[in-house]
């Protein structure tokens, strides 16, 4: 919706419901409120030593670009084409078959053709053709080339921050073009002239400073974990131990920071704490590696590398054998696909082996980092924990495959295995909306801000539409997911499209169902909601 409304007389005179027929090469973009993100704040850019920090906003005409901005982008483009063979291949190989065109959640929800992955990539490709191919240099627009103008740059900013790097389109590309990597390159080029968004740069700067997105310092982190320990004791009657910075522990546990300060993430944290206590795991939290998420992935290779380095550094400092990671989405793309070469090899760590079951996690042989869903499903498989799924009978559950665990690491069966053991009522959404084909929440890759709400609600429509289907058909009342961004952004999405459905994590369900030694009879679930017949009873 636009900020400005027309006068009635103007509407009568001008009303025409057909949008103008524009060619895609026309780069003019209108920055309407609700459809873009605010620029990065100067102090955060300075903190990260990023180029050209200045005050500007996308709605302003003058973005105060450096005088030689075209030269900077051209050089940056050239450097990346030489550095990443995949980038050059992705620029050359697309035959515009259209297989990806209608697979993007933003396109499906908005009907904006430039949200077709092929066309979004063309925004970059057209400049590539113009500047780096013989045909483009000679024939220009006839060969699909475009000159890099300020309007083209603004269009890049608009559309590369309208891609959540979810990679659904890539599943359908016959050439395997990874559109997320094209977006990543687009954003890197924008960064070179100081164009970035605050929702990425502020968490990244905070993370670089204190180890987590909110900038919580070590004492605040400890306070948060201690608070959760107290609350878990109130709920279950069991006092758990949650060691922080414990040298010589067997395992370092790294979770997204939202788990200890946001809702509904927090209930997943209670689930982790209960589980680790129950199996007697020798583990530790780290007050510096206090963030699994890595907003550097949404910024640039260099920032991703800097933020990721703390995990191995802390593993080394604390002398652990291997690393276990919590319910997070993009964190796992970084760990599974980049960490080994970013900051590895972690040859000071051991190949992960579950101390409870003896299972070797061979898939993590190189990174030395295991996903908690693999770890917990292995415990269940070996009957090492006792679960009472009836404690989740008030939930009729469906599962949203978070994009990165599903598509970047193939974690499809483990979450379902755990849900099926922790819950009695599990209903899948339709096949073309889950697993490898899962629809994004519409708010990933640093786009989950409130100023960007309309884009998020559009982009989340395909996901919410499938949730509504199982809600109407099976009375589903909770959407489970294993990603901190999902847990933050799906509640507002569902509040708009399917307000009757809640959002939660799988380890929240595990924590509810987990039968703990010495526990009180549970009067409530981990949210403090009384079980039927237990209303009004004290919980301690």
């Amino acid at each position: 919706m636009s900020e400005k409304s027309k006068k009635p007389q103007e509407i009568i005179q001008t009303i025409d419901y057909k949008p103008p027929r524009k060619k895609w090469m026309d780069p003019a973009v209108e920055f309407r409120k609700g459809t873009f993100n605010y620029s990065a704040s100067v102090d955060k850019l300075k903190y990260l030593d990023l180029p050209f920090p200045r005050k500007w906003q996308p709605t302003e005409d003058d973005w105060q670009l450096p005088d030689n901005w075209q030269e900077i982008i051209h050089k940056g483009f050239k450097d990346r084409l030489n550095k990443y063979r995949s980038f050059r291949v992705f620029m050359d190989i697309c035959v515009r078959c259209g297989a990806c065109a209608d697979k993007c959640h933003y396109f499906i929800g908005s009907g904006d053709p430039k949200n077709m992955p092929v066309l979004r990539a063309e925004l970059l490709r057209s400049v590539y053709r113009n500047d780096f191919t013989a045909a483009g240099k000679i024939f220009g627009t006839l060969a699909g080339g475009r000159k890099l103008t300020v309007d083209v740059l603004k269009e890049w900013f608009y559309y590369f921050f309208q891609c959540t790097e979810c990679r659904r389109c890539s599943v359908f590309c016959p050439y395997g073009i990874d559109t997320a990597e094209i977006t990543m390159m687009g954003r890197e080029l924008l960064n070179l002239v100081g164009l970035n968004i605050d929702w990425i740069c502020t968490p990244a700067a905070n993370c670089f400073r204190t180890g987590n997105h909110l900038g919580i310092q070590p004492h605040g982190f400890k306070d948060s974990i201690d608070f959760a320990v107290d609350e878990l004791e109130e709920l279950t009657g069991v006092r758990v131990n949650a060691p922080i910075n414990k040298k010589g522990a067997e395992i370092l546990f790294v979770a997204p920071s939202a788990d200890y300060f946001a809702s509904p993430h927090y209930y997943t944290l209670l689930g982790y704490l209960a589980l680790f206590h129950e199996i007697g795991l020798d583990y530790t939290w780290s007050s510096y590696a206090s963030e699994g998420g890595n907003f550097g992935l949404f910024h640039s290779y260099e920032t991703m590398k800097r933020l990721n380095s703390k995990i191995y550094m802390e593993a080394k400092r604390l002398g652990v054998k291997w690393v276990l990671g919590g319910e997070c989405g993009h964190m796992w793309r970084v760990i599974h696909q980049y960490m080994d070469t970013l900051n590895g090899p972690a040859d000071f760590l051991e190949e992960p082996v579950s101390p409870i079951t003896g299972t070797k996690f061979e898939n993590a042989k190189s990174t030395k980092m295991v996903h908690i869903m693999e770890f917990t499903s292995d415990l269940i498989k070996h009957n090492k924990i006792k679960l009472d799924p009836s404690r989740n009978d008030h939930w009729k559950v469906t599962f949203h495959d978070s994009c990165n665990p599903a598509r970047a690491m193939g974690l499809i069966e483990e979450p379902r295995f755990v849900i099926n053991h922790a819950c009695n009522h599990f209903f899948e959404m339709p096949e073309n909306t889950i697993k490898e084909q899962t629809f994004c929440c519409g708010s990933g890759a640093g786009l989950g801000t409130d100023e960007n709400m309309e884009i998020r609600l559009r982009g989340g429509l395909p996901r919410a539409n499938a949730v509504k289907y199982v809600h109407d058909k099976n009375d589903v009342n909770i959407l489970l997911c294993i990603c901190a961004i999902d847990k933050a952004t799906l509640p507002p999405l569902l509040e708009y499209w399917v307000p009757e459905v809640d959002v939660g994590g799988i380890h929240e369900m595990v924590g509810n169902a987990l039968v703990m030694k010495g526990e009180n009879e549970r009067a409530t679930d981990l949210r403090g909601t009384p079980y039927p017949g237990k209303e009004g009873s004290e919980n301690v």
Binding site: S5, G109, A262
Partner: protein, 173 residues
């Protein structure tokens, strides 16, 4: 033939034309997808619009209950309230049916009885248009409420611990 009979007999064609007009309000490069992709999960916009307008059309013939009518209107408006439309454009889809009817009945507009019936149907459509405005405002108000709530939930546990919030107020209860 009375207008109601005409509408009932030509429902399929009229609905197709109405649907096409609504889809024409989207950019040309996208309209073929929105029009032709039939899978309800691959194309929620096209699917919801095509199904909901059928119920709205039936309501003009006197069918359907009022709650369901509101639901159908809201389903469509909820989608268009977050897309790239002016408020007037977002709710105008209902008025497009008047254009379709006028064009389809162009040759019979000299029949007095038919014109009277058509005026009555147009009036009903106008009323639905006003309900669309209500639905649109409801959606926009919801968006601002969601924005405010999201800011609180993002740091819910920290606010709770510093006594700046309690569970009830965070959930808007």
């Amino acid at each position: 033939m009375k207008l109601k009979e005409y509408l009932a007999q030509n429902k399929k064609v009229l609905l197709e034309k109405w649907f096409d007009r609504i889809i024409d309000s989207y950019p040309a490069d996208s309209s073929s997808f929105l029009r032709n992709e039939k899978n309800r999960f691959n194309n929620p916009v096209g699917y919801n619009i095509s199904h909901d307008i059928e119920f709205l059309f039936d309501s003009l013939l006197g069918g359907g209950d009022d709650d369901r009518l509101n639901e159908c209107l809201e389903d469509i408006v909820r989608i268009r309230a977050v897309q790239d439309f002016f408020p007037s454009e977002a709710v105008a889809f209902i008025l497009l049916l008047k254009d379709v009817l006028r064009e389809e009945l162009a040759e019979r507009l000299s029949e007095r009885q038919l014109v009277e019936e058509l005026l009555a149907v147009n009036e009903k459509i106008d009323r639905l248009g006003l309900r669309c405005f209500d639905a649109y405002m409801k959606c926009r108000e919801k968006i601002y409420e969601i924005k405010a709530n999201e800011a609180k939930m993002r740091v819910y546990k920290l606010l709770e611990r510093t006594n700046l919030i309690d569970g009830k107020s965070a959930n808007g209860e």
